[in-house]
């Protein structure tokens, strides 16, 4: 009961919804970059939404199913195939034994999540299976996946459940239903909702104007810790040393050189750079699905609207769960 990584592609790692409760010891939350998609992949498979999944960045991944299994793929950045059969996202899939899922390029999105029914048997480190490579914690030996890695399933697959699926001649099964897209990744300009950051007032007038009125490009120097942005530079009105304080995913901090960085999943727990803005929590998944080279524009919203948008995602997830439990 397992899969084998034949090719990790651009970058693949084991992630769940994060390692919570240890930030006071300097341990980042980490976990899936796009937590909405990771949770959805699990919900489709009937799993707890915090089960470990495989996060595949862009394309080039190749995974062998050593036994038949139910799985789901959610997110973007690739198209998935078994031979010449394209596998739809957001549906429950039945994969016959010895099938190989290969991913190819797709202009939309950046990260896709593969879950299997019952979940992968990954050792939890401090309550989480998430891979945090800077400290070598979690996943498979604290590192990204490499060719030959085998991930076992937690439990046997329920073969009878496959009868509810639409069966293709190749033996691949696809559910008739699919889950709704909760947000749409874009290949051109991503509109990201943001609120003024804690140190917004410390920036000069031009910087305060530019953050919400100019376009930025996500730099190729971006990773799971943060997205570097290219575009206008930012300047403080008065240079003053900042004392370190807590930071988290979605914070837009400005380096001494004036470059903005959006902190992402593997963000450090604390930081000492001035924070010009913070991204609405509901848009972090959208950002995770926005790849280097794509332009983004910050749209200023008020805190109340940010909360409303976030609650909307939480409610939508609840509806998906209820909806799926009714399909039986």
């Amino acid at each position: 009961m397992s899969i084998t990584i034949l090719k990790p592609g651009m970058m693949s790692s084991v992630q769940d919804l994060g390692r919570w409760g240890f930030q006071q010891y300097g341990v980042p939350i980490g976990g899936a970059m796009d937590k909405v998609s990771a949770a959805l992949a699990n919900i489709i498979c009937g799993n707890d939404e915090n089960e470990a999944v495989i996060e595949m960045t862009l394309h080039g991944t190749s995974i062998m199913f050593n036994e038949a299994a139910f799985c789901a793929i959610v997110g973007g950045g690739c198209k998935a195939y078994i031979d010449d059969v394209e596998l739809p996202f957001n549906r429950l899939l039945w994969i016959p034994a010895f099938s190989i899922i290969k991913t190819t390029a797709n202009l939309q999105g950046c990260r896709s999540y593969l879950s299997v029914s019952g979940g992968f048997n990954v050792k939890k480190i401090m309550g989480s299976g998430s891979t945090y490579t800077p400290s070598g914690i979690g996943g498979i030996n604290g590192r990204n996946l490499i060719t030959g890695d085998m991930l076992a399933f937690k439990r046997e697959q329920n073969l009878h459940a496959a009868s509810n699926l639409h069966m293709l001649p190749s033996g691949v099964g696809i559910s008739h239903w699919h889950t709704a897209e909760l947000f749409a990744a874009t290949p051109d300009v991503a509109i990201v909702h943001a609120i003024k950051g804690p140190e917004f007032d410390r920036f000069n007038a031009a910087s305060q104007e530019d953050i919400f009125n100019s376009m930025f490009t996500i730099s190729s120097q971006s990773n799971r810790m943060g997205y570097r942005l290219e575009g206008k530079k930012f300047t403080l009105e008065h240079k003053a040393e900042m004392v370190s304080t807590a930071v988290t995913a979605g914070i837009v901090q400005v380096t001494h050189e004036g470059d903005p960085i959006i902190l992402m999943a593997d963000a450090q727990t604390t930081g000492g750079y001035p924070r010009i803005a913070r991204i609405c929590a509901a848009d972090i998944s959208l950002l995770a699905q926005t790849r280097p080279g794509v332009k983004i524009q910050f749209k200023e919203i008020r805190e109340e609207e940010s909360l409303m948008r976030y609650n909307r995602i939480v409610e939508a997830m609840k509806r998906v769960k209820v909806g799926l439990s009714n399909t039986g």
């Binding site: 900042m242 370190s244 988290t248 995913a249 914070i251 727990t269």
Partner: protein, 227 residues
Amino acid sequence: MLIPRIYNIHDQAITIEFSAAISEATNLQVIALQHAIESNPFKGFIECVPAYGSLTVYFSEQVSTAAVRSWLSDLSAQISDTIDHSSTPGRKISIPVCYDPSLGVDLPWVSSHLNLSLEEIISLHTSVAYRVYMIGFIPGFPYMGTLPEQLEVPRKQTPSLKIPMGSVAIAGKQTGIYPAEVPGGWQVIGRTPLKMFDTSTSPCSFLNAGDLVTFMPITLDAFNQYP
């Protein structure tokens, strides 16, 4: 008492900032508030992150931002009178450090920059007890102060690409210990054989915010024979 500044850093995380400066009194207030919350957590509470002059509280959608804000503000006002500034909220810990120049690779630079002998540096660094203000930067890294004024040095212009695990370093008014081999910009003056971060222990970090640390010099032989 100063009115703290309260702001969101996330839709589900709120920071209460008592001061934007490094002060022992403020940090005591931060840790007192952390202990008060942790010993009587509200519904939806996830975790606290203490920093020099601020405490950040993470919570779930079970509770509203407005409720957490007003609760934090009330609680911090309530406890501000009860803080005992003469005692330490954490443990008192002695940490062995070998100040041999083969391990404290920046000792020659620090010595010439400050015009102090090696012995003077060791005696100054071990002369006071340091408060652990916060853990951050990387898992298990303690930010400690306050360093004797005569030991104040700037950070490196260009950070070192690899600072060995256990390195004891100084920068500005602070001293810290690198829990893993990472790039870093502080001046390394020694090394401890103790493990500062271990995922198999509970808690995973050897030090906590609020602890009081003294350094005890050990010889290179003692360092090498350390169990």
